[in-house]
Amino acid sequence: MATQSRQRRRNLWIYAFLMPTFILYGVYTIYPIVASYWYSLVEWNGFSSEQRFVGISNYQAVLADPLFWSSVRITLLFMLVVAPLRIFGAFFLAILLNSPKLPFTKFFRTVYFLPVVTTTAIIGVVMRFILDPAAGPVAAVVGLFGLPPVDLLGESGTALVTTALVYVWKFFGITMIYWLAALQTIPQDVYDAARVDGAGGVRIFRHITLPMLLPFLLIITVLTIEDCFHAFDLMQTMTAGGPFYSTEIIEIYIYRWAFAASIPQLGFASAAAVLFGVLVLVVVALQAWATLTSQRIQSQRSESERTESQIERQVGAQIVRRTGKGRA
């Protein structure tokens, strides 16, 4: 009896601790996720106006809109440009910055990380001026080479790539930190051992660094790709989806119908939002599946291989190292 009442008291405390999260997270995250489904089934022309149930006709309208499909394509295209550049570029930079032989590494880390902490919506506005075809510094560089002025954000052919590259620059530092964290999980002993074994820089990189980093590639890819769905701040301030909808990612499409239209189409925008949520879910689920599969393959392979060659070699090298030290 005593333990039971103590248990009950404990549980009361637990629920009390969860209460702030229940309320805030419930109202501002869980409820919106659920309510979006209802809102996507109504006709609703303004936040204070009446809702009228219309069934799936909003979905039909969204799916029939070529601009919606264009925004899906642009969102995915943006991801395809940004993610590889961030993942592999940052990988390369992290390898360099992780070397104990490189001078000023701390300074470089700070500098390359700096854009991450700055306000995206403000950077977006500043970049518009930097890329200004008449008086911006980029135009001055182009002029230096005697080339005709280019309006990188004003042409629908170049606007998406330009914004994608700015996004890469802006958040490169995050992926760099991911890789540096991954690199730091490799103990220095392993390098030392291999070096004593006679392995050079390239061989160490190929046979030790790369295999030990591979498991991190997937999680870093998941995190970086997920990050590509948060481009609203930059896009809205740099191009607002233009010119001619050429940089209109899905979040801007939703924003345009819900908040920027003279008569808001909230039901229609909710249907687009639900479809966006499904897209994000599918991409994340695909990656989670890929991560699990690769982990299974790796653990199988490592059981058969690593035990024999790799670990043996590492242990052997360590013994060599120790005896070597003893001699010295």
Binding site: Y25, Y28, I30, L96, L102, I123, V125, I130, F216, A273
Partner: protein, 306 residues
């Protein structure tokens, strides 16, 4: 990039040969040719670093130039004369004094809310099994990646019905209630790893649930609190979507990130004022970053290690 890779390859190869041929030579000797290569890499990285921060240098430089000087274009970063009046214009006419105050209020209160609620939730989720605990963790993980564009319409509708839409309080609650699952998970992971005898000793001494948390667990979690606090501070200071929607009908509620766009919308030719406004808005987070770099990096690296 490719030349860098090639150079790196060459370097290590020469290093190897030196080492293999002269195994008994003192280590420092064999390092010398490699060292020079790394200085070259450092030089290239330094040039790239200059390009990397160029937008910020340009912004600071433009904030001190006259508009005529900026319109001439060119790459000169040194202003003819320092025109501090640009800052005065951004501060009063551009209302960045007001926007900065709004941003500070919103950021500080939101950060406090998020830290408190995530520490409480992370503690019980990480340390106790109770009816519904698995379900709660499942919901947290499932909603880890919810984008703002998905939840924004119901958030506005709820806020309107609660009478919170056109207020800083409404903005704060929405920001504090939006997905902060990562923070809860960081706390949960940290509290889970703490040894059980810590609280057992306290319970033997007669301490209750709340006392154990406040006197033992919370003080021990200071490093996590610093990390969560700083990352939340950064995310809130830089937030754009929610503040944009919450201040759409009342310009007095704008934060700096929303105010910047409004400023260039109203003063499209005042480049110097725009740049000054940008410096005013970004400087606080950059200063915070320089002093608290360790916690920034730890918070971000935690996502990979976990």
């Amino acid at each position: 990039m490719s030349t860098l890779a090639a150079r790196r390859g060459n370097d290590s190869r020469t290093g190897d040969e030196t080492r293999e041929s002269a195994d008994r030579r003192p280590k420092a000797m064999s390092h010398r040719p490699r060292r020079r290569g790394w200085w070259l890499v450092a030089l290239i990285l330094a040039a790239l670093a200059f390009l990397w921060v160029f937008p910020f240098l340009w912004m600071v430089s433009a904030s001190l130039k006259s508009s005529g000087e900026i319109f001439q274009g060119g790459l000169n970063l040194i202003p003819e004369a320092l025109r501090w009046e640009n800052y005065g214009r951004a501060w009063t006419a551009g209302q960045f004094g007001q926007y900065l105050l709004n941003t500070v209020i919103v950021t500080v209160v939101t950060t406090a809310i998020v830290v408190v609620r995530c520490a409480l939730a992370g503690y019980v989720v990480g340390r106790y099994r109770f009816p519904g605990s698995r379900l709660i963790i499942g919901i947290f993980v499932a909603t880890l990646f919810v984008p703002t564009g998905y939840t924004i319409i119901p958030i506005v509708k709820v806020s309107l019905e609660l009478g919170l839409l056109n207020s800083l309080a409404g903005m704060i609650l929405a920001l504090g209630g939006a997905s902060n699952v990562a923070a809860i998970l960081i706390y949960a992971g940290y509290f889970r790893r703490m040894p059980a005898d810590l609280e057992e000793a306290a319970i033997v001494d007669g301490a209750g649930f709340l006392r154990v948390f406040l006197r033992i667990m919370l003080p021990l979690s200071t490093p996590v609190t610093a990390t969560v606090g700083i990352l939340t501070f950064l995310a809130t200071w830089n937030a754009f979507f929610l503040p944009l929607v919450f201040s759409s009908t009342n310009p007095a509620l704008r934060t700096v990130s929303v105010g910047m766009q409004a400023f260039v919308g109203e003063n499209s030719t005042d480049w110097a004022g725009m740049a000054a406004a940008g410096v005013i808005s970004i400087l606080p987070v950059v200063v915070l970053f320089v002093f608290m770099q360790k916690y920034f990096v730890e918070g971000i690296a935690g996502a990979v290690k976990a």
